[in-house]
Amino acid sequence: MSFAYLTIAQIKKRLKDKEFSARELVEYYLNKIETENPELNAFISIDREGALRSADEVDQKIARGETLRELEGIPCAIKDLLLVKDHQATAGSRILADYIAPYDAEVVQRLKNAGAIILGKNNCDEFAMGSSNETSAFGPVKNPWNQDYVPGGSSGGSAAAVAADQCVFSIGTDTGGSIRQPASFCGVVGFKPTYGRVSRNGVIAMTSSLDQVGPITKNVEDSAEVFRVIAGEDPLDATTVNLPLPSLAELAHNVKGLKIGLPKEYFNLGSSAEAEQVVAKAVKTFKSWGAEIKEVSLPRTTYALAAYYVLMPAEVSSNLARYDGIRFGKRVPEAKDLEEIYRLTRGQGFGKEVKRRLLIGAYVLSAGQKDAYYAQARKVQQVLAADYAKVFQEVDILLSPTTPGPAFKLGENLTDPLTMYLADIFTVSANIAGLCAISVPAELSESGLPLGLQFIGPAFDEEKILRAAYHYQTSRSFPNLGEIKN
């Protein structure tokens, strides 16, 4: 019996048909994680005992003939930026290395309520700051397609774990592309819902006005199913909304007449010929299904990344003020006075990328610079949101590469932060303009690494991008890693 690369629907059916037990399934993933983690490093912590205990409870329910909940018995992983009660929550940082979460993030609570089994916590860039998973204090994650390459970031551990079949799905966070970019690099599906869809309660904050939680999965159907479980209003996150969610049945509705926009300026953002080919091929496919393709213009989209690298560090410098060595996290023992506790704890606890962003944040918010940078970036954010809203009156969704090219080598961009930041050039607009977006594996590059295709949709209209992405993915035979290795 093979457990390899099973989807949620397949597992549900096989558990129900008693083809295997939940315990056998969980043991398959735990063994895989424990065997592969010394090299891949996609997990920071594993909860073997808790996962097996949950699996036994599922098996008992099945034996009693009880109805299983939406995700009952489905083994998953959680980016180590979200709190899981009584478990380590490091955010990939030394400063939180020993921190034990006192409560569940709302998303985690919803997953538990739906019966999902949490295998462990995925490695990530420190406080989600990075595009390669090389800023984690717990070492870099390797791309399972080729371990000389990065898996992307910041949800790099989540994407690598799903690609390597160490879990059925993982929960990531996306502030400027941190779900979609690693999903693209690792050949899996990464879905960033609209800001406000999923509660941030219990998510360690990076940029509160942009952070959004979403699933990384093996297919679009699984993303839609997990989304339905984790989304919804939460009184503890005042930015969440109570709006209807797309049903799974809607995914299969056809795409005839769907208006797809190609933003012409996106193709001047430095994408590789291979990435552009991905879009060109997809256009042909959608045309053959009766979708309407239209070139659209978003002339100010080139400013999205610059706005992001002002707004994000500004919020980072505020959000990370809480790590002061007093209430939780590490405290250096040698400090002589209170000021020194702060300075030394933060100096020793934070890594280089975090320090870089803290200083930029202080710079763009400083008295002499605030209007030129922070206030201007907020204005740019508003005009970009207006530009996208206008384009979405002409078309239903937008299509673009997810990343300029396939994954880059470990260490390649580590000393050049600006080049590293450009890895998010195609993904960041959806965050800045408050849209939803999904990356779906499209082609293998000449180097044998995956390339993703991105679908961007209007705010709170996830149904259209999920439907288009579902049709695209189910029409393709993009291989999973298990098929490549065999």
């Binding site: 006192p102 209003e233 005042a238 080139t302 610059a306 706005a307 002002v310 300075r343 200083l359 932060p417």
Partner: protein, 98 residues
């Protein structure tokens, strides 16, 4: 180019100790990143073109104090790196005048 003094000032604003080597590399990196985000100045934005996202956000919370039970406060205090008698221990906040 940001000066070393400016980098040290930004670190001080963040209550962050940085080494001499870090000062030099942060000076280079931050100058380059600020140079990139400077492109925002190219955009002349008419005040009339600004809009605020029309989102139907959840309403404000009720202005009531939500108390914590003792077991929860104890748990929160225990997370601190140094505690005594259910209180968080810190260094003295005020120094004696010399």
């Amino acid at each position: 180019m940001l000066t070393e003094q400016e980098v040290l000032k930004l670190a001080a604003l963040n209550k962050l100790a940085i080494t001499d080597d870090e000062v030099k590399s942060l000076q280079k990196d931050i100058t380059s990143i600020i140079g990139y985000v400077d492109k925002l100045q190219e955009l002349k934005i008419n005040k009339d073109s600004l809009l605020f996202a029309d989102l139907d956000l959840a309403g404000p919370r009720h202005d009531v104090v939500v108390g914590l039970v003792k077991s929860e406060t104890e748990k929160l205090v225990k997370m601190a790196p140094d505690t005594q008698d259910n209180l968080i221990v810190t260094k003295a906040i005020f120094n004696e005048r010399s």
